[in-house]
């Protein structure tokens, strides 16, 4: 069973101070750490589990600059057999839709039974690439998968809905699935795998090598700004009864219950 996993190298902003750079359209990245997008790590692990079950090869693809090879190499150490980088430096700014089209132009020529992507990237948070890609490749899809199993030509899939409800599906392969975090326990890379990965070749594909050279953009990011919310604790004083009453009021007003 051959599996393709699309991964993205993203800045780790959860614990960081995020500052807008001088273009106003991007963030200052020099002090940030970068790593594989969180849900992509689960997607990769799901692929590794499927490979353990069925054999076959895992190919990871990332559209990114040279640094993305570091992330691809991590993927190679954690179960992938092949890695492809599509050179982001060959393109101007890309939106999610264009990215999907570029990925499609490479993936369409590859052999695969399953494509896994993360369900969302933590940087721009669109949740678009997976489904767009599935549509472009004209294969079925399911988003937000939290449980996955497969046999030769069908997948048994559970999607996470709101409120603890789960949707149980049966999907024909080949298909694309966007993977939710928590579906599995992503593995560590062993030192043997790390050394093996360090020596593997990463296939690099430039714009010229793509079958297509024009990709329609859906949207343009005009500017970034700090949303006008700041966290400052509001101490509710008074007697226990007074403070409780204030709190109850706030909870009600904000519709938190």
């Amino acid at each position: 069973m051959d599996i393709i996993v699309c991964i993205k190298r993203v800045p780790q902003t959860a614990e960081a101070e995020v500052k807008i750079d001088s273009t106003g359209k991007d963030i200052e990245k020099d002090r940030l750490t970068f790593d594989m997008n969180e849900s992509d790590t689960y997607a990769l692990e799901e692929a590794a589990l499927m490979k353990e079950k069925f054999g076959g090869e895992i190919t990871v693809i990332s559209l990114g600059d040279e640094d993305a090879e570091e992330t691809l190499r991590i993927a190679l150490a954690k179960g992938a057999d092949n890695a492809i980088r599509i050179k982001a430096e060959d393109f101007d700014e890309l939106d999610a839709f264009q990215t999907s089209q570029i990925l499609k132009s490479v993936i369409k020529d590859l052999s695969y039974d399953i494509i896994f992507t993360g369900c969302i990237s933590t940087d721009d948070a669109y949740s678009q690439i997976g489904l767009t890609l599935a549509e472009l490749l004209e294969i079925p899809h399911a988003a937000l998968v939290i449980d996955f199993d497969a046999n030769e030509d069908r997948a048994d899939v559970q999607r996470e809905l709101e409120g603890g409800l789960i949707e149980h599906l049966d999907v024909a392969l080949p298909a694309l699935f966007t993977i939710q975090t928590g579906i599995n326990e992503p593995r560590y890379a062993s030192l043997i795998a790390i050394r093996r990965a360090a020596k593997k070749e990463i296939q690099v594909i430039g714009k010229d090598e793509l079958a297509q050279s024009e990709f329609i953009s859906n949207s343009t990011l005009e500017k970034l700004y700090v949303p006008p919310i700041s966290k400052q604790v509001e101490i509710l004083d008074g007697t226990a009864a007074e403070s409780s009453a204030k709190l109850a009021g706030i909870i009600k007003d904000k519709g938190l219950l």
Binding site: L131, E167, S219, V233, L236, K252
Partner: protein, 322 residues
């Protein structure tokens, strides 16, 4: 402008909150832009659902067919593609939910519509459509301009808009389903409910966290009661798990679970950074602690500096009074 279409999300005969929010926002947009709101319902035996939103839209388009009995992105996609091609609405709005996320990008792509996801606001000016959305773990907002087109598709974030009453009387149009059979390549099998009794603190919108400030195991009952009264679940910091008062899966923190509820009430938790790492993503954080210097107050939106044993019983009453 050829109208604002809103896809109604429903499950097990209940309309999801997001749909009411979208309808309210859609009506406002329609008013501003001098157009109409059309709700689109796909389902089977949809009378009750239609009834519920009759007053919320100018028009309701219904595909009532057994194939739409359960949500299936692939079946929905076929029907909606057909509808949108015919009607070519200016805006097609879907909730940014498990439902919308599983549908919108594929549908829009099929139709070659400019689309974007997880929007918090929409600005329509001249012939341009701009949206506001969050990026980088919600730390920044972005203004995004969509490719100019006569028709757009967007998913909108739940909770960004308030639902509102309305007194419209929708024109109801029942259309025949362009699909008669659920395609073999994606089949709905069942809904699975989370196992009753099992508390998954990551799934709850309201979490009451307790720390060593509760002092004795016997006091746990009082907290459980309080949490139940507000529809929340009880989670805790490390010392409580250490003391075996609660199981490990209730622990919030770097070694426990990371939770992002709407409301987190930290009771008797000092706020060691290991704990904070697990709950800082909560939308609203309330801290109740008698130590005014407890670091938890750095994380909280609202704080009560008082003895928790005094506050909790009263708070329970006050909330019940609402």
């Amino acid at each position: 402008m050829s109208g604002i279409y809103i896809l109604i999300e429903h499950r097990q005969d209940e309309i999801r909150d997001i749909s009411y929010e979208l309808l309210a926002y859609g009506r406002k947009l329609a008013e501003d832009n001098n157009t109409k709101v059309t709700a689109v319902i796909l389902g089977f035996n949809t009378e009750k659902i239609v009834e519920k939103i009759e007053s919320q839209a100018h028009k309701i388009i219904v595909f009532d067919n057994e194939v739409f009995k359960e949500f299936n992105a692939e079946t929905y996609q076929i029907a909606l593609a057909d509808l949108i091609r015919k009607d070519n609405p200016f805006l097609f709005l879907i909730g940014h939910s498990a439902f919308g996320m599983d549908l919108c990008p594929a549908l829009a792509t099929q139709l070659n519509l400019p689309f974007t996801t997880d929007c918090l606001a929409i600005e329509i000016a001249d012939s341009n459509l701009r949206v506001v959305r969050h990026m980088f773990d919600g730390k920044l907002a972005a203004k995004v301009l969509l490719r100019e087109n006569s028709s757009y598709m967007l998913t909108l974030r739940a909770g960004s808009f308030s639902a509102a009453e309305s007194s419209l009387k929708a024109e109801i149009i029942k259309l025949d389903s362009p699909v008669s059979e659920v395609p073999d390549y994606r089949k709905f099998l069942e809904y699975i409910e989370a196992v009753a009794g099992d508390v998954d603190i990551t799934k709850s919108d309201i979490v009451v966290g307790i720390g060593r400030g509760i002092k004795e195991q016997d006091n746990l009952a009082m907290i459980e009661e309080f949490a139940a009264s507000i529809g929340g679940v009880v989670a805790c910091s490390r010392p409580i798990v250490d003391a075996d008062w609660l199981p490990k899966d209730r622990q919030v923190g770097s070694s426990g679970k990371v939770i992002k509820p709407k409301l987190y009430i930290a009771i008797g938790i000092s706020g060691a950074f290991q704990h904070v790492a697990g709950m800082k993503g909560a939308e609203t954080i309330v801290a109740i602690n008698k130590d005014a210097n407890a670091p938890i107050f750095h994380e909280a939106d609202y704080g009560i500096v008082d003895d928790l044993f005094k506050v909790i019983p009263v708070l329970k009453e006050k909330i019940a009074e609402l």
